[in-house]
Amino acid sequence: MTQPALQTIGLGLNVGKRVVLADVSLAFPPRSVTAIIGPSGCGKTSFLRCLNRLTELWPDARQHGQVLLNGVDVERSALPYPELRRRVGMVFQRPNPFPGTVFDNVAYGLRLHRRLTRGELNERVEEVINTVGLWDEVRDRLDDDAQALSLGQQQRLVIARALAVEPEVLLLDEPASALDPISTLRIESLIAELKTRYSLILVTHNVQQAARVADYTAFLYGGQLLEHAESMRLFTTPQRQETEDYITGRYG
């Protein structure tokens, strides 16, 4: 079996006295899409934030258990969180471009981590904007305000921004939930393209979306991992009653 790109063992999260996640053990194979589904408040987003330690921003949050990046324990190897976050990129629910130009947005991470000449920078920016299929739309607007783009364009822009720093894993937190159907479709086809190069973890509350794009699907319920299987199997023959209820739309 190949080494998982990312793996959690007994991951738990408490916020104050509330248990948000308990004992989640999941492995994410490289170059694949894993969808995490579950009803609102089941801990999907919290789980994602545990993977790149954005839980750090929550004052009362305490995270325990192991997160393994390429088989290396993040805590034990004392990997600095900024470096962890560079290798495990994240795209948020609402597009969050920085105030500033399209170019500066994509170049943000590059300017942080690497000393590039102006030419190399331009090249790299063009490359990632191309990857997300935005180049033809923004090639003349690189110096425009990023906030002037449509929401769908903004979301692809922030994906390009995340890709620019060459992550190994990309976390997507309901990346299409704020977008219209056509933009959603583009994001989904982009995810399908990206999985040839990256490992993607997609949190979504849209069961159909998970079925369309994910190779594997995990069902979280009440902070616990109830079921994890290849998407095909999970959606056709769910093992648990709760999973079946959820995917058939009986709650959620």
Binding site: L57, P99, G109
Partner: protein, 404 residues
């Protein structure tokens, strides 16, 4: 019912107050502009063809109140006149001319001799009037200041600008630093609450207390130490152990610190959380996020803080009287020789100039008008300093419009 009545009362009081402010503003502008328009020119001709020209201050049936110019006086009077001119620019000592059978007589206490004069009003319109206006404006703005505090306000204007700029240089980095610490690094502990309370309370301290603080601690303690260490060869005459530009700007900086800290902290807190997350998620450290996302996004708020600080500082006179503002400074605090800005020098100040002119017993109506003109210049200065910041803020706001 009572509450409703109170509300209405407060409402009308507010409107009255606003009206009063508007009136004061209009008065300052009107009086200031009036003071800048010179009085008409008259020429007094002596029987033998000699002439003296002057500005007509007040005219009654029998008297003319004049400001005399020196240029055309008789050669043998020149020495006398030169002295008298200084005096005669004060209306109380202005020349009084008596009209008797169509001839004017210059009173002796003014020129020192009694002679017969005739009066004419040349060039009361057209380009000559423009030229006289130009001359009066030059006299008001750039004529050298004299030891009795009279003369042009140029020195005071430049000094005030330098003072405010220096204050800005001090308070902005420090204020932003404190605000950043409070908003980003400190968390919500007893200590930070205490700091916040202290800063807020500083805003309620009367300005003159800041002046006293500056005099007691900065001038007498720090200043004396600096003099002993660095300027001992000049002792016992003080260098920094007396009021000067540096201490005055430090006092102003402390005075405006609360405003700056509160405005900046609000600005930092208003930067949306998702921008912070976006930066961190790209592998930026906290410091990088602060420098590259938080500070740029908070720029409009920082400019607001700057505007408030400049407006507040330009208006202050009381504390400056204690730490370096003087009626007459022989030298500007800036010069073309190194070190260019002379931090130890006492300086003239527009606000103080207004105070001085308005309360001087010798000045009378003329000095009061000059005070209004000074006040107008002060207002324009604040407007000019702030205008730049306001324009910059508007442009930034347009860019950050979606942040709110």
């Amino acid at each position: 019912m009572i509450l409703r009545g109170l509300e209405r009362l407060a409402g009308s009081a507010l409107i009255l107050l606003l009206g009063a402010f508007a009136l004061i503003f209009v008065a300052i502008v009107y009086q200031g502009i009036a003071a800048l328009i010179p009085p008409p020119l008259v020429v007094l001709s002596l029987d033998d063809g000699e002439a003296v020209s002057g500005l007509l201050l007040r005219e009654t049936d029998t008297n003319l109140e004049l400001l005399l110019e020196i240029r055309a006086a008789k050669p043998e009077w020149r020495s006398i006149n030169r002295q008298r001119i200084i005096a005669s620019e004060r209306p109380s000592q202005a020349c009084i001319l008596n009209a008797s059978d169509g001839r004017m007589r210059l009173q002796t206490h003014c020129v020192g001799s009694t002679s017969e004069w005739s009066i004419s009003y040349p060039n009361s319109g057209g380009t000559a009037a423009l030229a006289r206006w130009w001359q009066a404006a030059k006299d008001f703005l750039i004529a050298p200041v004299r030891p009795d505090g009279q003369g042009g306000i140029g020195s005071a204007l430049v000094s005030t600008m330098v003072l405010v700029l220096l204050m800005t240089l001090l308070v902005v980095p420090f204020g932003i630093g404190v605000a950043l610490y409070l908003a980003e690094y400190a968390g919500d502990t007893g200590l930070t609450r205490a700091i916040r309370l202290t800063v807020a309370n500083l805003a309620a301290v009367p300005p003159v207390v800041f002046g006293l603080f500056g005099l007691g601690l900065l001038v007498h303690v720090f200043g004396s130490q600096i003099d002993q260490w660095l300027f001992s060869e000049r002792l016992p005459s003080p260098t920094f152990a007396t009021g000067g530009l540096l201490w005055a700007s430090v006092v102003l900086a402390l005075l405006t610190l609360p405003v700056v800290v509160v405005a900046c902290e609000q600005g930092f807190r208003r930067v949306p959380h998702r921008l912070r997350e976006a930066s961190l998620a790209l592998g930026a450290t906290h410091t990088e996020t602060v420098l590259r996302v938080l500070l740029p996004a908070a720029r409009p708020a920082l400019l607001t803080a700057l505007i408030l600080a400049v407006a507040r500082a330009s208006a202050e006179v009381a504390p400056l009287l204690l730490v370096g503002a003087v009626r007459y400074a022989a030298q500007l605090p800036v010069s073309s020789e190194p070190p260019f800005v002379h931090l130890e020098r006492p300086f003239m100040h527009l606000g103080y100039r207004v105070l001085d002119l308005a309360t001087s017993s010798a000045g009378g109506h003329y000095a009061l008008q000059q005070a209004f003109a000074c006040a107008l210049v002060l207002l324009l200065l604040v407007l000019g300093l702030n205008g730049t910041a306001i324009i910059a803020r508007l442009r930034l706001r347009a860019r950050y419009r979606d942040l709110g």
